[in-house]
């Protein structure tokens, strides 16, 4: 093979440090042993090129459950580009998004918090990046929520994002934050990333209203799958 058999190692300062205080799963589910380095053969360097048949896109509007059934909350659009380690657009990536409702509660049996469920909001979607690597979702701004038994830790409004690019090396699971929220500075998950510039890559940009063509607030968020400027996994 002519291709390099390993991408540049990630800078540890851009990767979250575990355990996160008040988040027991970051202990219970993280190996006590360091990961083993292995020779890379084609099994690690390959991966599915296009998952659009298996994971069907076309569900990029979370704000409208069905005709006439609008979710409650501030209407927003979140969009940006999926990029590789050299800043080139990644076309055909599957982008999955999930989030709490405007009251900060997930539509999920595990989330039994005493906050309202919105009958018109499920909170997940899936789309595919276009030829220029662009993706986008219409949704509502999620609410913040307190983390139970954590000593008054509140998660700021955030959106969970999963990206499946071509090949197993193009896989990212992360969270997007909103600019200017006072909870961002004290979020323990965001702060688990030591490098400030890497943390900043998890926070979306706000689009001025004149840059948005419809009646929603616009946020822009690029997803960098690998390399020195990679979006941290969260």
């Amino acid at each position: 093979m002519n291709q390099p058999d390993r991408f540049d190692p990630l800078d540890p300062a851009t990767q979250p440090v575990v355990p996160v205080p008040g988040y027991p799963n970051t202990i219970r589910r993280n190996p006590s042993r360091a990961a083993f380095r292995r020779v890379l053969t084609r099994t690690e360097l390959t991966g599915p090129l296009d998952l659009a048949e298996k994971l069907r896109p076309g569900d990029d509007n979370l704000a409208v459950l069905a005709p006439g059934r609008m979710a409650q909350g501030q209407l927003i659009h979140v969009g940006g580009r999926v990029l590789d380690e050299d800043g080139r657009p990644v076309a055909g990536a599957i982008v999955e998004l999930w989030q709490a409702n405007a009251g900060g509660r997930y539509f999920h049996p595990i989330d039994q918090r005493d906050a309202p469920l919105d009958p018109d909001f499920i909170g997940n979607g899936r789309t595919r990046s276009d030829d220029s690597g662009r993706y986008g979702f219409f949704t509502i701004k999620p609410g913040a929520y307190p983390v139970p038994d954590s000593g008054r830790w509140w998660r700021p409004p955030h959106i969970h994002i999963s990206v499946l690019g071509p090949g197993s090396l193009m896989r990212l699971v992360t969270q997007m934050y909103f600019p200017g929220d006072p909870l961002n500075a004290i979020d323990r998950i965001l702060n688990a990333v030591p490098d400030a510039a890497a943390r900043a890559r998890c926070i979306a940009g706000f689009l001025p209203p004149e840059a948005v063509e419809g009646d929603w607030q616009g946020f822009t968020h690029d997803l960098v799958l690998r390399g020195r400027h990679a979006t941290p996994p969260l």
Partner: protein, 206 residues
């Protein structure tokens, strides 16, 4: 139709943060690698088999609501990806990728076809299935590789398996476990994310 771990989830307060994949993402058949889409016919060439097991966390309790992603070669040991020199001969009816999630007992199941081994620059790779685990508390993902008991000789020569300390190698070899619902052979392996050194699943840099 393949069974899917789909029991009601246990409400556990501390699990309400972190990757919290909505159940509505998953469809029956996402965990079936023998089909190009969940509702497509089985098109993969080769011998079907099941890979099942449990994902366990510290203390041996179930890791609920974890997502597993599988990637493997086709029956002839080829990958449909340009980094495989023989990719154009790879089975067009085989996607090689599937996704499963764990139920309240931490159980998962994949249905696939037996992967072929292949010769690589670093040595002969034994038949194997790559697994990545994503879930609450796991930042990024945990990557490992599962081998099959029927290929003891190939396993012993595999450059990745044999790079592990000898006592850990059996932790990545599934055990024969009867048959799946369709009569295909079933192999099982539990994945312990954190535990005693002798039992904790070895994971690889990703």
């Amino acid at each position: 139709m393949t069974p899917r771990p789909n029991a009601p989830l246990v409400p556990t307060a501390w699990a309400t943060i972190g990757p919290f994949f909505p159940q509505t993402f998953f469809r029956d058949g996402d965990n079936d690698l023998t089909r190009l889409a969940p509702d497509a016919p089985q098109t993969a060439q080769g011998r079907p088999f099941w890979l099942t097991g449990r994902v366990l966390q510290e203390g041996g309790g179930p890791c609920v609501n974890a997502v597993l992603e599988a990637w493997q070669a086709d029956a002839a040991g080829r990958f449909r990806h340009p980094r495989d020199p023989a990719w154009q001969q790879a089975d067009p009816g085989f996607l090689g990728w599937g996704r499963a999630w764990t139920d309240a007992e931490g159980c998962f199941a994949f249905r696939s076809i037996l992967p072929g081994g292949y010769q690589d620059a670093s040595g002969p790779r034994a038949p194997h299935i790559n697994l990545a685990i994503i879930g609450s508390g796991i930042m990024g993902r945990l990557a490992t590789c599962v081998f099959l008991p029927d290929f003891a000789e190939a396993n012993a020569a595999d450059p990745v398996l044999s790079s592990l300390p000898a006592p850990l190698r059996p932790l990545l070899v599934a055990r024969a476990d009867g048959q799946g619902p369709d009569g295909a052979p079933r192999f099982s392996l539990d994945l312990l994310l954190r535990g005693d050194a002798a039992e904790e699943t070895p994971f690889f840099e990703d």
